[in-house]
């Protein structure tokens, strides 16, 4: 890695540190930060206390580094540069340009697919659970099931989550709501010799009631909640549900369960 980098600077290439960083193995989740964004000091506020050898690292990232350093120091600066890039990256991907770049990568499926079977391989988005470095590694958010997963590859499992930040995914869908997938009520029903398992089925019924309660609550606030299945086969059931869940929670609860017993 170091050698790659050395040969590049030695041969007088310019503005290639970021290119090299983006294209190196394991960094597939990152997008390239614009030169202008990096050179605007305002965007880097506070980072000088977070990153050792801040100035050198910044020089390296912006390809103006020309210090004659020994290998040890160089390696440390290189490490700092990666850390700095990550921290700036977390800020950059919340800007309009950054969001657009990440949305492109999302559409291409650069971040992998959701491992959950019922999500049918929905594309994922990288996210952090914290905005502070060294707290947790990067997670992958599926907008279809709204849950977070660990990356399956170990080379991604060591990336700091703070390089993407905890706000990124929510911000992306605030800015591009048309990218939101249709949600589905499909779920896995554990069965033994074809019979549903009571414990899981009871939980599923409870969750179904919870869903319908939320839906009614939101409907009262004029927010429509739609699931894919609503258009298809559950229309009738839905109307029944609505009629019966409106008056009281308890009635809805009894109804959902008795329908299941009848089947």
């Amino acid at each position: 890695m170091m050698e790659d980098f050395n040969s590049e600077t030695d041969s007088d290439y310019t503005s290639y540190w970021r290119d090299w960083f983006i294209s190196s193995r394991g960094n597939e989740y990152f997008c390239e930060i614009d030169e202008e964004y990096l050179t605007d000091r305002f965007n880097l506020t506070g980072l000088n206390t977070e990153v050792p050898y801040y100035q050198y690292a910044l020089d390296l990232v912006t390809d103006v580094f020309d210090l004659d350093a020994d290998d040890d120091l160089r390696e440390q600066i290189e490490k700092s540069a990666r850390h700095l890039y990550g921290l700036v990256h977390a800020r950059y991907i919340l800007t309009t340009r950054g969001l657009t770049k990440m949305a492109e990568k999302y559409k291409k499926g650069d971040f992998g697919k959701c491992p959950r079977v019922m999500c049918d391989g929905h594309p994922l988005l990288p996210t952090g659970q914290h905005d502070i470095a060294n707290m947790s590694t990067v997670r992958l958010f599926c907008s279809k099931c709204e849950d977070i997963y660990n990356p399956k590859s170990s080379r991604h499992a060591s990336i700091d989550g703070a390089y993407f930040g905890a706000s990124f995914t929510s911000m992306l869908f605030q800015v591009f709501p048309h990218l939101l997938p249709e949600k589905s009520t499909r779920r896995y029903e554990p069965r033994i010799y074809g019979f549903r398992v009571h414990a899981s089925a009871a939980l599923a019924r409870w969750q179904g009631r919870f869903r319908e309660e939320t839906r009614t609550r939101l409907q009262e606030a004029d927010v429509q909640v739609k699931y894919i299945e609503d258009d298809e086969d559950e229309e009738l059931e839905d109307e029944e549900d609505e009629a019966q869940t409106v008056d009281s929670r308890e009635a809805g609860r009894g109804d959902a369960a008795s329908m299941d017993l009848g089947r």
Binding site: V117, G121, M135, L180, R191, S200, T214, E250, G254, A257
Partner: protein, 362 residues
Amino acid sequence: MSSSEGAPESWISSFCSLMGHEFFAEVSEDFIEDDFNLTGLQSQVPMYKEALEMILDVEPEEDEDEEEEEEEEEDEDELLGDEKPPGYRRERRHARVASDLSVIESSAELLYGLIHQRYITSRPGIQQMLEKYEMQHFGVCPRVYCNGCKVLPVGRSDTPGQETVKLFCPSCQDLYTPPNSRFHSVDGAFFGTTFGCLFFMTFPDLDVGPRFDASLNTLSPTRSASIPSTVTTTTTTSAGTSHQPTSDTPRPVWPTEMNGVRTANFAPGLGEGKMYESRIYGFRVSERSRSGPRMKWLRMKPTDINQLDEMAYFKALQHYDNDGDAQMGGDSTQNAIANRKKAPMRRRRYPTDPMNINGAAA
């Protein structure tokens, strides 16, 4: 030719050591040799007899014995014409070894898979899978809040050729695609729909709670500190669910078993504090927002596990209906009735109730 094949490794163990077959247990020969266990498979597998012989490694030996005989017989055949059907059949099989070997091989794999589906629900089979499970041969759940809970291979269909093998996580009760693509060609029917749940009902004491306890504990205080609004909820719930025994949880009302499952082992990865909440700059996204949370239900679990006791609830409801005309909206009275009703009923149910699922599972 056959001596080299027959010597060190059986077909079964070489099949199980193939790349991508790491999930399979080695079915014991006793199990296969019992015809009862193979009921109905004959119609599902082409070249059933040859496939079965291949699995049991009986064919090579037969071949060895027969080869000399066959040569003699072939001569006889020529003399006698087509009048000797057994000899003719042998000759056909001999010719098949070259051309149809791949067909028999794939039939054998199919047959082995179908036997495997039955074997892993039998007593020795499920025991063998337990060993594999405990050694984490099947991997862990990719979901962050399941904290690396070990998963189990299952199928979504019992008919071969429909779907590949999936992984069932007991902690979130959900199904995942194996991360490694070499499992994307393994048929899910070879594990079957029944195995996943039967396994956890057979071993109800298996701890499916969080495994990276240490790392979780170092993370959780800092997490709740950085997100002040969840301090109360995260700390209480993690104290309640992440530490293993339920006996010292802050909720004495929890029964140790509910619906046939230990409450401590029932979907420990779900519920408040174990769900992802989308936030922007630390503020939760409102559910009224267009991009607000819509899938919370999928990872929810009642904070009071008693809400899943539907029997108690129905009893209370019936009693309530018989009593007649109290107001439906009166939540407090109804809960009071439910609680009053629940307590004696559970006491009654555990020792003697013939419907007791817990007794049957243990």
